[in-house]
C-alpha cells in the first residue's frame, strides 16, 4: 500500500486535519436491458454502459432500442448518472450502412458517449454526432502510454485499457498523458488480447469482432507434439485437458490502489449478467469506493463485502494483471462455471410500515419456511424465515410459483422498493 499513498493533490486533500479523497472515480456498470440499467443506477452506479441493436459486441444480449435508450437516460439523469453505448465492433464494409443515422439517434437520445474500437466509427461520430463523447474500447488492446497519447492527440475523451495492463503501467500512463482512463475491476474477461482472437470465426463461422464470440477459449483441447511425424500426448490421465479459461477478474481489494492512481472510471463487466449480479456487485463496489474516499487512512476491506461478491459469482476469481502477470493458478482446467451460491427470488415493490407487510414481485420459486436474505442500498443485509405468503387477493399460498407474480408476506424489518430478496441455493 506504500505505493498507493504517494501524494497527489489532484486526488486528495486535508479537511479538518483528516485526509479525504476529493477525486472519486466513476463506478461504471453494465446493463443488458432497461430493467438492469435502472437497478444499476439505483444500486449506486455513476454510469452505465449499454448495447444498442447494432454495432455492439453482444449479439445475444437483449440490447436497447433507441426508445429504451431515451428512457434509460431520463431515468439515469434523475440520479445524475451517465449512459454510454457500446459501438465497439470492428466493422466490415457492409456495416457502414446506417451508421450515421444510428449515431445521430444515440446522440438524440441524450446518451453521454460511445465506446468505440474502429476508427470508422470514431470519425463518423466526430463528424455526424459531435455531442457524443468518444471512449476507446478495450477491443483496441491499448497497452502503452505512447498509444494512449496517440488517442489523446486524436481528440478522444477517454481510453479503456487492455486487460493486460497492470497498476504500475497505469500510473505511467496517467503521469504522461492527460486523458481519462477507464479500467476493468470485475467480471469475466478474454484470455486473448481483445480484438486479436478469431477462434469463433474458425470454429463456428461466427465473427467474434462483430459480436459472434462463442467463447471457444473456454472449451477443452488435447495438447500434443509432433515428434518425427508421431503424435505424442502432452497430458496425462491425472489431469484435466488443456483449456484457456481465465478466472474472472475481481479487484475489490485493489480499489484503494486504483483510486490513488487516479483511475477515472472503474468498470464492471457483464452486459449478459442478471439483475441480481448487477445489484450485488454494484452495491459492494459502491460501498468500497465511498468508504475509502471518506476516510482512506482508516479503511479496511470488510469480510462481508467479499462474501457478498461471492454470492453471485459463477466462477473463481483472480486479480489477473493488476499486480503482476497471472500464473497458472489464475486459469481453470476442467471447470466450466458453476451455479451461484444464491439465487434471486424476489423484488420488493412496496412496504407498508403500519402493517409490516411487504409486497414482492416473484422472480424464482420460494415458499413459507424458506430462509431468505434481503439487501439493497438503503438497508443492511438481513435474513428472515418467510411466514405465510398471500397472493394479491389475500389468498394464502403454499408457495410462490409464478414468475412476476405479486405476493405479500409479513417482514418486521423495514424494506424499500427495489430491495432484493435472495435465497441460498441447495
Amino acid at each position: 500500500m506504500a505505493l498507493a499513498l504517494q501524494q497527489n493533490d489532484k486526488i486528495r486533500s486535508l479537511v479538518d486535519g483528516k485526509r479525504v479523497i476529493t477525486k472519486k472515480p466513476e463506478l461504471l456498470a453494465p446493463a443488458g436491458s432497461l430493467e438492469k440499467l435502472k437497478v444499476a443506477v439505483h444500486y449506486g452506479a455513476d454510469a452505465v454502459f449499454i448495447g444498442g441493436r447494432e454495432f455492439g459486441l453482444r449479439s445475444n444480449a437483449d440490447n436497447f432500442s433507441i426508445e429504451d435508450m431515451r428512457e434509460g437516460v431520463e431515468f439515469a439523469n434523475k440520479y445524475d448518472a451517465k449512459i454510454y453505448v457500446t459501438t465497439n465492433i470492428f466493422a466490415h464494409n457492409e456495416n457502414m450502412d446506417g451508421l450515421i443515422e444510428y449515431l445521430q439517434a444515440i446522440e438524440g437520445a441524450g446518451v453521454t458517449g460511445i465506446i468505440v474500437a474502429d476508427p470508422l466509427i470514431i470519425e463518423t461520430c466526430r463528424k455526424h454526432a459531435p455531442k457524443l463523447e468518444i471512449h476507446l474500447s478495450t477491443q483496441q488492446s491499448l497497452s502503452n502510454w505512447k498509444a494512449v497519447k496517440y488517442w489523446k492527440d486524436e481528440g478522444l475523451h477517454r481510453v479503456v485499457l487492455a486487460r493486460e495492463v497492470g497498476g504500475e503501467e497505469m500510473r505511467l500512463m496517467k503521469e504522461k498523458v492527460d486523458i481519462e482512463i477507464e479500467a476493468f475491476i470485475h467480471g469475466a474477461m478474454c484470455i486473448a488480447y481483445s480484438g486479436r482472437c478469431v477462434l469463433s470465426n474458425h470454429m463456428t463461422a461466427r465473427d467474434s469482432n462483430r459480436g459472434g464470440c462463442c467463447q471457444s477459449c473456454r472449451w477443452d483441447y488435447d495438447l500434443y507434439e509432433l515428434e518425427d511425424g508421431e503424435e505424442k500426448a502432452l497430458y496425462d490421465d491425472n489431469h484435466e485437458p488443456f483449456a484457456m479459461s481465465p478466472k474472472d477478474l475481481k479487484l475489490v481489494e485493489a480499489i484503494p490502489h486504483m483510486i490513488e492512481l487516479g483511475i477515472d472510471s472503474l468498470k464492471i463487466e457483464g452486459r449478459m449478467k442478471s439483475i441480481h449480479y448487477v445489484a450485488t456487485v454494484v452495491s459492494v463496489y459502491r460501498k468500497v469506493i465511498d468508504a475509502y474516499c471518506a476516510d482512506p487512512d482508516n479503511f479496511k476491506i470488510k469480510r462481508e463485502w467479499l462474501e457478498e461478491l461471492d454470492k453471485c459469482a459463477n466462477r473463481d476469481t483472480a486479480e489477473a494483471f493488476f499486480h503482476d502477470a497471472p500464473g497458472h493458478e489464475e486459469q481453470m482446467f476442467g471447470e466450466h462455471g458453476r451455479k451461484t451460491k444464491y439465487e434471486f427470488v424476489g423484488r420488493v415493490v412496496a412496504y407498508d410500515e403500519a402493517t409490516q407487510m411487504v409486497t414482492l414481485e416473484q422472480r424464482n420459486y420460494f415458499k413459507p419456511g424458506d430462509e431468505v436474505e434481503f439487501f439493497g442500498p438503503e438497508i443492511e443485509n438481513f435474513r428472515v424465515v418467510i411466514d405465510e405468503v398471500f397472493d394479491e387477493d389475500g389468498v394464502s399460498l403454499d408457495a410462490a410459483r409464478h414468475p412476476l407474480q405479486i405476493v405479500t408476506f409479513k417482514c418486521e424489518h423495514k424494506l424499500y422498493p427495489e430491495n432484493m430478496m435472495r435465497k441460498e441455493n441447495a
Binding site: S59, F90, A91, H92, N93, E94, M96, D118, P119, L120, Q139, S143, N144, W145, K146, A147, K149, Y150, A162, E169, L172, M173, I191, A192, Y193, G195, R196, C197, V198, L199, N201, H202, A205, R206, D207, N209, G211, G212, Y221, D222, L223, Y224, E225, L226, E227, G229, L234, Y235, D236, N238, H239, F242, P246, F321, A325, P326, G327, H328, Q331, F333
Partner: protein, 307 residues
Amino acid sequence: MKKPELLVTPTSVAHIEALLEAGADAFVVGEQKFGLRLAGEFTVAQIKEATALVHAAGKKIYVAVNALFHNDLIDDLDAYMVEVAKLEVDGFIYGDPAVIMACRENDITIPLHWNPETTATNWFTANYWGERGANRAVLARELSMEEVIEIKENANVAIEVQVHGMTCMFQSKRPLLGHYFLYQDKVMEVENRKDNRNMFLHDDERNNKYPIYEDANGTHIFSPNDMCIIDEIDELMDAEIDAFKIDGVLQTADYITQVTALYRKAIDAYVDGTYDDERDALREAVEAIQPAHRPLDTGFIFKETVY
C-alpha cells in the same frame, strides 16, 4: 496488367537468396521482441545484410514492428526504429499506434504498413491510417473475396492480402503452454520446451489440429488448415491487389521457397494468359509438398461468416 508484389517471409539471410531465385519481390524480416509471428529471427546486423542483398536485386524489404507494446518496450522501440530506419528499409509493418508516434517524434519517414491482423476489416479505416502515415493496409484474413475487392476499390492505400499459409487465430499475453505444464506439475517441461514449435491442440469435435507456440509476445494459436488460393487468383489479379503474401510461419525454408516459386509461376501465367492451362497443376504441386498434418483450404475467401 499490373503484377502484384509477391511478399514472403524468409527464415534467414541465406534463405533470402533462395527466395530471390524463386521469384519473390519483397521480404518481411524482424525480431520477436518487436514483430509478431515471424518465420525467422533477424538481428539489426542481419537486417542490414538482408537489405543489401534485397536492394541489390531491386526488391523490397519490410521490418515488422507489429507487436502490442507495453510501456517497458517503448524506449527500446524508439531506439530500434531509429537504428533500422538508417538502413533505409522500405517499410515498417505496424499495428500499435505507438509506432506512428515513434515516427513522428524521430522524424522517421519510412512508409508504414498498417497490419493489426484481425482488425483490418474495412476500407474507411484503411484510409484513416493512410492519412496517418501508412501507404499500405494488410487486410484481416477473415474477409471474403467480395469484401477484399470492395476495400481495394475504395482504398487510397496499397492493399496486401495473404494468399497462402497458416493464419493466426489467437494471441494471449499469458504463457498458456507453460501454465498448462505447471498445472500438471511439470516444471522441467516448461524449461525444455521454451522454443518448441511443433505442438498443437486437438479439437475432438471438429477433429482439427491447431498449431500453438509461445514466445516473448505470449501464446499464439493458428488455423488448422493452410490457406492456398494458387488456383483462385483471378479476381485478386483483376482487382489489381497490390501485394500477395505467403506467410511461412511454422513452415520449413524449403517449403516456403517451393511455394514462392509456384505463386511466381501463377502470377506470371495469369499475366501471360496461360493461367487456365496451369492452375490445376499448380494446385497439385502445392498438394504434393504439403505436410501430412496440414490440410489446405481457402481461408475465409469463399466462406460465409455470421455474427
